[in-house]
């Protein structure tokens, strides 16, 4: 009675690794296939979570208590408007902390100079703004100053970030003027991008008084912004319509910009899903590459298999050797891919100015996926190797 043959796990690992060491270039290339798939998936998940994290931090800084009121449509489908008193009425709601408004001018457009043909508005709008706009919407001035009680009466304008870019304004100085509503307006300030009210980015903001007196503005607010106490946001939101337009509460649109941002993030999730699917396809292709490499490896190493059988290896030992090799190969690719994915996420998010966040489940999932793939890719070649008859294997030179 002879003692059975054995192969300790450490020896199986050693034998599998030795098989890989003998063919470094091929191993590198097939591992690269896996790595690309894993890197793609880690990147997609990492970039999506980094962007979400960045938004969450932004929202935490900006606050989620901003509400936005705008006129809707009448029952007949015509554009409605908010009553002039709506701002004051909203201000009288208990938990409201601040309220302000802008009014879009349909009568005036803004141009770089009086030479620009009237049609080329650059999709910019002219708005009348109350002087307390900045604090409520969380905007800040990039350079120059904001409108004050004095400049609000004169042809002075503050440009949104994108509007300034389109009008070719870099810095607000006393000699920078734009052609607005048939007269020259001095640019007194440029805003930074406003996250919670992106419509301001494309606006040229003039004082309420200047708008009514020189630009034939009708005086109706088109957007009312209000900040409420954090605990009363929903309660205020519920009564805003009736408060802003008691006569026709149904003709008022009330929204919460922070919700809109979160919803936009959610729509990005669909794209993330698509990209994840593409990553999975890349991973599958990588797995096929590993299977191919392993099949070729078994064909090439028939003599080695025969020798090992003559040294006492059972079918199982030979199978385990090739399965280990396949697992190591894809684990190598998986680890490389995860590192590559993290590096790309880090590079992209630092370029975007986001915090780098790669969820642990993405890394762990990637490693688990490579293990499954390595196993699937290795099963058939390992089975082939195990069932090779020793004499046939030895007969090949």
């Amino acid at each position: 009675m002879t003692a059975p043959s054995r192969l300790s796990p450490a020896d199986a690992f050693r034998v599998g690794a030795a098989g890989l060491r003998a063919r470094p270039l091929r191993v590198f290339l097939s591992a690269l296939g896996i790595a690309i798939g894993i890197a793609a998936m880690v990147c997609v998940v990492g970039i999506a979570s980094s962007s979400r994290e960045s938004l969450n931090r932004q929202l935490a800084a900006l606050g989620t208590n901003l509400l936005r009121v705008s006129p809707g449509h009448t029952l007949h489908g015509d554009q409605s408007h908010l009553p002039e008193e709506s701002v004051a009425m909203i201000g009288r709601i208990g938990p409201v902390l601040s309220v302000t408004a802008t009014g879009t001018l349909t009568t005036a457009n803004v141009y770089r100079s009086d030479r620009v043909p009237p049609g080329e508005t650059g999709n910019l709008t002219v708005m009348a703004a109350r002087t307390d706009l900045l604090g409520t919407v969380g905007a800040s001035v990039a350079n120059g100053t904001w409108l004050n009680a004095a400049t609000a009466r004169y042809p002075a304008v503050v440009l949104g970030a994108s509007a300034a870019k389109r009008l070719g304004v870099v810095r607000a100085t006393p000699d920078v003027k734009v052609w607005l509503g048939g007269q020259w307006f001095t640019v007194v300030g440029v805003l930074r991008p406003v996250v919670l009210a992106p419509e301001l980015d494309f606006a040229a903001l003039v004082g309420w008084h200047a708008a009514t007196s020189t630009l034939r503005f009708d005086g109706y607010p088109t957007t009312v912004y209000t900040r409420t106490r954090d605990d009363a946001v929903l309660a205020v939101k519920a009564v805003l319509g009736a408060t802003a337009n008691p006569e026709n509460p149904n003709e008022v649109d009330v929204s919460r910009p922070s919700d809109a941002l979160a919803a936009k993030q959610a729509t990005d999730m669909a794209l993330t899903g698509l990209l994840l699917g593409l990553g999975a396809v890349a991973l599958l292709v990588g797995g096929v590459g590993v299977a191919n490499t392993m099949v070729i490896s078994v064909l090439e190493r028939r003599a080695e298999i025969g020798l090992r059988r003559s040294l006492g290896a059972t079918r199982g030992h030979v199978g385990i050797q090739f399965l280990t090799e396949s697992l190591l190969l894809s684990a190598f690719g998986g680890a490389g891919g995860a590192l590559l994915g993290i590096a790309v996420t880090g590079a992209y998010s630092s370029y975007q100015g986001w915090p780098t966040v790669v969820p642990a489940w993405a890394g762990a999932g990637g490693v688990a996926a490579t293990m499954v793939i390595g196993c699937c890719a290795g099963i058939y070649p390992a089975w082939r190797a195990a069932h090779l008859s020793p004499t046939e294997a030895l007969a090949t030179p």
Partner: protein
């Protein structure tokens, strides 16, 4: 030690490599199996070494009838009872001689350190003590075959089977390898050598002539 009783081997496709061979090899013998190419020598060696099973008759190795063994037991018997030496050496490329020899104990449940220690002492015993860290491509043909013999005997198997061990060697190296096999025989190992080299066969104690799948003398 090895008993073949009415053994026949027919390969799938109908080729009859061996027909009704009966042969007994006692422990401690030095036997040569000779015959022309295609006579069935290699098939016989495969059956003696339990690498293959007969389609007819019984093969008994060290008292065990191999035809009834499952793969696990058969592999163990092969690993512990029989050492193989091949014409093509079958050394792992790029692996030092000592590790090639240590692989002879890989499936015997011996720890790595002990495998290396025994491989070293076996190589030293076979006069290759200065070639421990040489890789196969740094060795001459004769040295490669001696390393392969070291791998075959590192586990002290009672039987050593050599399939054309000098087939790829010049006469000097061949003679050296044969001297080594004879030395191993003198320490008690049963040695079976397949060859079609008549000079070499002349130096063996007992010759088994195989012709057309049958033992003729």
């Amino acid at each position: 030690m090895i008993v073949l009783n009415g053994v026949g081997k027919t390969y799938p496709g109908g080729f009859q490599a061996l027909r009704d061979v009966s042969l007994t090899i006692d422990a401690g013998e030095l036997v040569g199996v000779v015959g022309p190419s295609g006579s069935g020598k290699s098939t016989m060696l495969h059956l003696i070494g339990a690498l293959d099973l007969p389609t007819k008759g019984t093969v008994t190795i060290a008292g065990t009838d191999v035809s009834r063994l499952p793969d696990r037991r058969l592999s163990a018997l092969r690993g512990r009872t029989v050492g193989f030496v091949f014409q093509q050496f079958h050394l792992a490329a790029g692996v030092p001689a000592v590790d090639n020899v240590a692989d002879g104990l890989l499936y015997a449940g011996v720890r790595l350190r002990e495998r290396r220690r025994r491989a070293t002492s076996t190589l030293e015993r076979l006069g290759l003590g200065d070639r421990l860290d040489h890789r196969p491509h740094e060795l001459s043909g004769g040295e490669k075959q001696r390393v392969a013999i070291a791998r075959a005997v590192v586990g002290d198997p009672p039987v050593l089977l050599a399939d054309e061990p000098t087939g790829n060697l010049d006469s000097t190296s061949g003679a050296e390898v044969m001297r080594l096999l004879r030395d191993l025989h003198s320490t008690g190992t049963t040695v079976v050598v397949i060859t079609h080299d008549r000079d070499l066969a002349a130096g063996l104690h007992r010759l088994v002539h195989v012709h057309d799948g049958q033992v003729v003398a």
